[in-house]
């Protein structure tokens, strides 16, 4: 009789090892629940009124969508600082198209396309031409932001058509769930996800095992770009107009959120989409809760910083993916460039 091996071989020892390997997924979830409870308790559950809940969800929405894409770049050991500016640029294009009367859905698709193209260009600079990831993404960040500022200095761009469908929660939640499911499958089951994680573990070994490293790194940028475009469109619909500071600051917040969510700074097989949900929620509930408790902005930023340090310390202490990973990556990149 044929035994179902897949089930038969998953025994206790497999379970133990499996749990050991996935600790960085469990901790952020616990952290998220804790933060949600602690701030509910501290504010007398005032922070979860319908109104404030909406604020929290709105803030974490863009972050979560961005993070789910960015994970693919992080998985192969890359970094990207350009996503907020690319969001602004693709939002700008979508807004301009709306103003000349293009149907909303087409505008949305254009937004996603522009985001994807920008991201792939950043990726190509890094992957094909060998510019360190953080440099190429900073370049893209400045270019996109510059264009946005130049354009709206002369003509105001705002949403002139009816986008209420894209402002309604059911639609937004459905999109979020779809992106979550798709990215989860891509990261854990697809060649793109598996290969990018393998590249993050050891790019030399990955290449020698027959992975076309450049191609798959570029695909990671592509996925990230799609997410950037989606996040941009929903943000544009929500805010109703394009401003010079559109989405500004998200580029760093999303990285902080991912680290809070337990993503290993060096990428690799421990990268998990859970980080992109837990991280943004922790970050926004925390920030929002502190404001409700009457902290001023500066204090809030300071406390967020401390929590970040604490989490990173707990998560990465004693492991090979030390906190220096994130900064080491930047350092190493710049050294490589200096040598060139």
């Amino acid at each position: 009789m044929m035994r179902n091996r897949q089930i038969a071989v998953f025994e206790d020892n497999d379970m133990q090892e499996y749990i050991k390997n996935n600790r960085n997924v469990v901790t952020p979830i616990i952290g998220m629940i804790l933060v949600i409870l602690v701030f509910g308790f501290a504010t007398g559950w005032k922070n979860y009124t319908a109104n404030n809940l909406q604020t929290i969800l709105n803030q974490s929405y863009s972050l979560a969508i961005l993070a789910m894409g960015l994970i693919f770049i992080f998985a192969h050991g890359g970094i990207d600082f350009s996503c907020a500016s690319v969001m602004a640029f693709s939002g700008l294009i979508a807004g301009l198209l709306m103003q000349i009367g293009v149907p909303v859905v087409i505008c949305g698709i254009a937004c996603v396309l522009v985001g994807t193209i920008c991201s792939v260009i950043t990726g190509a600079l890094t992957v094909v031409f060998g510019v360190p990831a953080f440099i190429s993404s900073i370049c893209m960040m400045n270019i996109c932001r510059g264009i946005v500022m130049a354009v709206i200095a002369t003509n105001a761009v705002s949403v002139t058509v009816d986008v209420s469908a894209f402002k309604s929660w059911p639609v937004k939640i459905i999109v979020l769930i779809v992106v979550f499911i798709v990215t989860t499958f891509l990261l854990s089951k697809s060649l793109i996800g598996r290969y990018n994680k393998a590249i993050g573990e050891n790019s030399v070994a990955a290449e020698q095992s027959g992975i076309s490293v450049k191609k798959y790194r570029l695909l990671a940028y592509m996925i990230s770009g799609v997410c950037v475009g989606i996040a941009a469109f929903f943000l544009l619909c929500r805010t109703g107009r394009m401003a010079t500071g559109f989405a500004n600051g998200l580029q760093l917040e999303v990285i902080v959120a991912l680290m809070l969510g337990g993503l290993p700074p060096r990428g690799g097989y421990r990268s998990n989409i859970v980080s992109a949900i837990a991280g943004p929620l922790i970050l926004t509930v925390l920030g929002n809760g502190l404001v409700i408790l009457g902290m001023d902005d500066l204090m809030t930023e300071g406390i967020k910083g401390l929590v970040f340090l604490a989490v990173v310390f707990v998560n990465y202490r004693g492991s090979s993916e030390s906190i220096t990973g994130l900064f080491g990556k930047i350092g190493l990149d710049s050294k490589k460039m200096l040598l060139k």
Binding site: Q6, E17, S190, E201, G210, I211
Partner: protein, 501 residues
């Protein structure tokens, strides 16, 4: 009676459910080179790392010269007179040779608050002189050195402060004759000075030639100790595996005839560094052995045949039934059914910090995926098959590769390529660090592959293995083939060596 330098008593070491060492008690004597042998995963590296202070034992005590000895870390161990050369790469990348030799000992070179670089470099030069090496400049960055020279730097580091006990963990397999001689000479010097040396190796001939006594471990338990007089290959082997092992583990046939069909052809391969116009034809169902010294260029040739490196002249072509495919990159090679086992295992072949499963299927993911998605229903049996076939000793397929013993890591690499079902396998030192039992299993696997019509290039520094397995042996020297031997199991190593040096 010889003086006991170190005594370990009832040492146990557990890693979760894995019992790596169980109640190990033994003594190491001054003026003696002691061999430590056992199958892969029998606990040799674990025992030596406990002695060197790299990890603490779960229970048990150690005595040095009769006094309690409990190193808290390797630096402490070294201070207390125990030095170890580890199985894996042990140098720190990106810094100079000098800094590597004196890492953690900078305080001895202070001049005011700063490190006196000059003095340190001078001392590094002396440390290298002391072990008889003059072919490197201590000011150089460690990255420019070959793997072998990096090991030599580790030796200089270990021997710099005159340890009373030196542990050499499977270092010699990675070295050429030059490096080996340096290690042997230093081991003997230490013995003559009345100090103790422990050497770990899977090469029984080497153990018999170098050691005054040998201790055998099996599954974390000490099974016995043999003195010089009692040592013989058969006795040691039997003690290691616990049953009678035949001495002959190579192919038995003497038939070197292979089909006329050429599957891989290299023509006029030249590189800037070594290779000078190499021509090579690999036939279907052939085991082609390539032998030579490390620096002969045979490892580069392997990399070029697989497409990792590009030659400045010449090309490699895979002959397919309908058309030819020119090899230019590894992913193309894998797609067209070529596999490659790298000599540099930890750096080039393994994803150390992830699971055995992810490693074994890495090169086959495309094969077991549909529409870009990997099928777990195919992946898990594939992993299990390789674990069983190679008897990889692990807690689970979800264990991290860096929790495996050296030989078992090598099996994972081998398994990765067996899983692809490649038609052409380029194996660069495939049996490095694996024990004799597994070696013999690998040899019969290779023979099975041959019989199934697959073609194999075996690049190796072990002549016995080439003679035992190949249908044809090509000997390389200074980037050129100097001699071709047809299959002849009675060929002697010294007949070949002349063409190598």
């Amino acid at each position: 009676m010889k003086e006991v330098v170190l005594k370990v008593e009832n040492i146990c070491k557990n890693f979760g459910p894995t019992k790596a060492l169980t109640d190990v008690t033994m003594e190491f004597y001054g003026g003696e080179i002691c061999g430590l042998i056992g199958e892969n995963g029998s606990g040799k590296s674990t025992l030596s790392s406990v002695i060197a202070g790299i990890q603490p034992p779960t229970s048990g005590v150690m005595y040095k010269h009769g006094e309690r000895y409990l190193p808290v870390n390797p630096v402490d161990g070294q201070k207390k007179g125990v030095a170890m050369i580890v199985q894996e790469a042990g140098t720190i990348p990106n810094i100079s040779i000098t800094d590597n030799i004196f890492a953690g000992k900078e305080q001895f070179f202070l001049k005011g608050p700063f490190v006196n670089k000059k003095a340190m470099q001078q001392a590094a030069k002396e440390a290298l002189d002391k072990i008889g090496v003059d072919r490197m400049d201590p000011a150089d960055n460690i990255n420019v050195l070959s793997q072998e020279d990096k090991k030599i730097v580790e030796i200089a580091r270990a021997l710099d402060d005159d340890p009373e006990l030196l542990i050499v963990d499977e270092t010699t397999t990675a070295l050429s004759v030059y490096g080996r001689d340096i290690i042997y000479a230093n081991m003997r010097r230490m013995r003559d000075e009345g100090k103790a040396v422990i050497i770990i190796s899977h090469d029984i001939d080497e153990i018999m030639a170098q050691c005054d006594s040998v201790v055998v471990l099996r599954d974390g338990v000490k099974v016995g100790r043999l003195e010089k007089e009692e040592m013989n290959g058969r006795a040691i082997r039997n003690m290691m595996v616990g049953r009678d092992m035949s001495e002959n583990y190579y192919r038995e046939d003497a038939d070197g005839a292979v089909s006329e069909e050429v599957v891989l052809e290299a023509s006029d391969i030249s590189t800037e560094k070594v290779l000078k116009g190499i021509d090579l034809k690999l036939h279907k169902g052939e085991i082609l052995g390539i032998g030579g010294l490390t620096e002969s260029g045979m490892h580069e040739l392997g990399r070029i045949l697989y497409g990792i490196e590009k030659p400045i002249k010449g090309k490699v072509v895979l002959k397919k039934r309908d058309s030819d495919y020119k090899i230019t990159n590894p992913w193309g090679s894998v797609k067209h059914g070529i596999g490659y086992v790298s000599k540099n295992r930890d750096v080039e072949a393994l994803l150390l910090t992830t699971t055995i499963r992810n490693n074994i299927t890495l090169a086959s993911l495309k094969k077991i995926s549909r529409g870009g998605f990997v099928s777990a229903a195919k992946e898990i049996p594939m992993v299990q098959e390789e674990i069983d076939r190679l008897s990889i000793k692990c807690n689970s397929m979800y264990s991290n590769v860096n929790s495996l013993s050296g030989g078992n890591k090598q099996k994972v690499v081998f398994g990765k390529w067996l899983a692809t079902g490649a038609d052409v396998l380029i194996l660069d030192c495939p049996t490095r660090g694996v024990d004799i039992g597994v070696k013999s299993a690998m040899y019969s696997l290779i023979e099975e592959l041959k019989n199934a019509g697959k073609s194999i290039i075996m690049i190796s520094e072990e002549l016995a293995e080439l003679i035992g397995m190949s249908d044809r042996i090509l000997i390389m020297k200074d980037g050129q083939f100097t001699k071709e031997f047809p299959r002849n199991p009675d060929l002697k190593e010294h007949d070949i060596i002349n063409y190598m040096i």
